[in-house]
Amino acid sequence: MDRKQCCVKLSVQPSRGLMDEKFLVLVQSVLPGFQLTVYASYRCDDGHSWEAFAHYTANASGTVNVSEDHSLGGTYCGVEPMGLMWSLRPVPGSKPGLRMRKMNVLTPMEVTISVYRGHLTEGFVDQVPLAAVVVERWYMAPGVRRVPVTEGGLTATLFLPSGPGPFPGLLDLWGGGGKLVEYRAALLASHGIASLALDYLTPQITKENDVSVLFYNEWTNVQHPQVIDSRIGILGLSFGTSIALKMAVYSQVFKLRCVVCISGSHVQPIKGSVEQIMTSFHNNVDKTRFNEEQQVIWRDLLLPIPTDPSLKVEVGRLRCPLLMVVGEDDQNWPAHESAVDVKEMMQRAGNDHLLTVLSYPSAGHLIEPPFTPFARASSYKILGPPLQMVMVLWGGETVAHSRAQEDAWRKTLVFLRENLYRATSSSHL
């Protein structure tokens, strides 16, 4: 067997990492100046295939270091240590509108990283790579415990960090798509915060009750000896923001330490159950727009930002720190306009020292933990009635959005750790 290029050495460190950790991809023992393609492939739990790739040229020592060298083309360009993860996209021929979300957090994402000869853009399946390794990406650190919660009619999962505790706690709320999505809570527990992922849309009990009473009941139901009840925070994305802000301002029984609101708004009828709030949004459905690809734009449903105070959460009454994360190209919610209004309201009330806004140009609606693929639009099931599937435009541009995710996540972790773990209590006025 006479091959020009034999025994290429490929390594990825760490080979087992958390989803928000960076890795180093190193190719060695190729000929100097060798042109190669580094390729990532992943088959998700639903059976869809995803890929990313980048073109490199080996240096004089016959090495390519993905963290230091420039990608000359592919699904990302330039120096991008984690480009192989965030630029993953469905392989050609896939069903349109896919969004990658790992629903089973007990197993890792297994990504195969390979090296091919030459600068390829297609046909990877038909060629034998020069080398390939498998990388595991985990949402759960070793020792993190997953505790399903079904008492009191709830659908929730509690993730407890490793160790004896006790730990600060966090309520983790996703958006209007419903379902019990666990991965963010699992990752937060891997960072030392006991996190409860809650499906608040599907169970009847959560839809029909007033939000603050609802969550009080739920929290006492999941009281756990390892959670410090004086150190609870709440994190919401999209519609979850509406719930989070309402609780933070109005709850009589909960004194939250801090709130994180991602891609959401304070615009909502102040009184009302979850179901009632959603209905009020649906009343503006005629403001729905469509782009050239017939993708649904819903950002106008809450615009213009009302001046009537009964239609906005009174953020001037907030007594704990608030972090708002906003994508300026959000096509689903008017997060940017809402953040501007929130800031004005808090400035008038004199509590704007509690507010931090992270605003990212060209980032879209789905600002998630870093190093996962970006979806500018995806299929979305409207819970109805009637039940229907549409293609929703989230907005954002791949590189800017991926950078926003990385930056926002790091800052969110710092914010949560500061406010939930700090020895001195936060400003409860």
Binding site: Q28, S162, H191
Partner: protein
């Protein structure tokens, strides 16, 4: 803030563990990466402590034999309430100084354990689980009696994801082959341990995680040296199993031996006509072998030297003097002048089991190879105060452990070495061994011809 009182909640509050430090605010302990190969480093940090507070970092591991191993170090937090094991000094415990991995390599059996223990993982498909914890104050004992302030679990793996494990029973050879992930072909390694015998897979699993198809070979049963498979043919067969494997590059196969495995490596590299390794790694070995002897004669030769065995103050057996003085004539030595491939010798200057350094030095390999004109192939690395068992990094140091001799007699052998320099030797030698293997088995330069 009122809560409806409920028996469950009251009971739950009673269960909340108390702490000797500020009760409501736990410190944040992190170990990154939490899942790693055994030869990868980690960063252990503690945050959210009161400034200037005394803490003890502690590691705990329960072995497959159900013995408990632990290490600990004393630290003081800085003005921000943080401790970083990689950056701060440890002022006491099972290690001292700035030691990022001290919590692993300084582990030893907990007080009250059986004597002479050695930690070796048998099942390489699962990780070694190590609990890293932080306790208030500077403690030396009693860790089991109180809960830590925080604790995380670290997984230490011998096998990387995608590495394949294949049991081998072919043409009489017995062992386990570990194949890296990917389409191949890969360079190959024949991996041989020492006279303690049995089938130890962990080094081969680790080599496969670094891109080498490695066969861990079983050639002697514990305590049955007299019936070992030590004929050339056995090792040649094993070497060819690796060489001819469809996923192995046939001209890129080397040897890796420790102790008796090193002796066999030397012998095969010099004298075998059937196999030609591309390079050899010899850890804690010698080139002393009764040439041409059948193995039963080798075994008899060992028993004849039994009177040269010495005992230390603990009645631990010191075997190094059995092979001294190094013979002057060739009858008891491998003719290393005939070796035709790069050799890396790794030895500890405090090896109490074999006179590895004298052998490497003297009439030994260096001189013999110089005379034959092939000493450019030889690289020797010797570590002061390191003992015989130079293993992959961060594994604990074993100065003396139980061993099953021939006739299944159990003794305690003195291996030598002091913990800190021995651990440094393990860490440094492994890096050099991997670099040596990469240079000779992966790089594109052609093999060196004998001059």
């Amino acid at each position: 803030m009122t809560r409806p009182s409920s028996p469950v909640l009251l009971f739950a509050r009673l269960l909340r563990p108390s702490s000797t430090m500020s009760p409501a605010v736990p410190p944040v302990l992190s170990v990154v990466p939490s899942r790693a190969l055994v030869d990868e480093t980690f960063r252990v940090t503690v945050q959210n402590l009161p400034p200037g507070s005394a803490v003890t970092l502690h590691s705990l591991h329960r072995s497959e034999d159900e013995d408990m191993w632990e290490a600990f170090g004393h630290y003081v937090s800085d003005q921000g309430g943080s401790v970083s094991v990689s950056d701060d000094f440890c002022f006491g415990g099972t290690y001292t100084g700035k030691e990022a991995m001290g919590l692993l390599w300084s582990m030893r059996p907990v007080p009250g354990s059986r004597e002479g223990l050695r930690l070796r993982k048998r099942d390489v498909c699962t990780p070694q689980l190590v609990h890293i914890s932080v306790y208030g104050g500077h403690a030396e004992q009693g860790f089991a009696a109180r809960p830590p302030l925080a604790s995380v679990l670290s997984e230490r793996w011998f096998m990387g994801p995608g590495v394949r494990r294949v049991e081998v029973k072919e043409k009489g050879a017995r062992g386990t082959l570990f194949i890296p992930p990917g389409p191949g072909p890969f360079p190959g390694v024949l991996d041989m341990w020492g006279g303690g015998g049995g089938l130890l897979e962990y080094r081969s699993a680790l080599l496969a995680s670094h891109g080498y198809a490695s066969l861990a070979l079983e050639y002697v049963n514990p305590g049955e040296l007299e019936s070992a498979d030590m004929e050339f043919k056995y090792f040649e067969t094993a070497f060819n199993i690796v060489r001819l494997h469809p996923l192995v590059s046939p001209d890129r196969v080397g040897f890796f031996g420790l102790c008796l495995g090193s002796i066999m490596t030397n012998y095969l590299a010099a004298e075998s006509t059937a196999i030609k390794p591309r390079c050899c790694v010899c850890v804690s070995g010698v080139h002393l072998y009764p040439r041409g002897a059948a193995f039963t004669e080798v075994y008899q030769a060992i028993t004849l030297k039994a009177h040269k065995v010495r005992l230390d103050e603990n009645n631990h057996e010191i075997w190094r003097y059995r092979e001294l003085p190094i013979p002057g004539d060739l009858s008891g030595k491998v003719d290393v002048g005939r070796i035709n491939c790069p050799m890396l010798l790794v030895n500890g200057l405090d090896d109490q089991n074999l006179p590895t350094v004298e052998a490497a030095e003297d009439v030994s390999m260096a001189r013999m190879m110089r005379a034959a004109g092939n000493d450019h192939l030889l690289t020797r690395i010797e570590y002061p105060a390191a003992g015989h068992l130079i293993e992959p990094p961060y594994s604990p140091h074993f100065r003396a452990t139980k061993f099953i001799k021939q006739n299944r007699e159990k003794v305690t052998l003195l291996w030598g070495g002091r913990t800190k320099p021995h651990s440094d030797a393990q860490e440094d030698s492994w890096k050099k061994i991997l670099a040596f293997l990469q240079q000779h088995l992966y790089a594109n330069n052609p093999p060196r011809a004998k001059m």
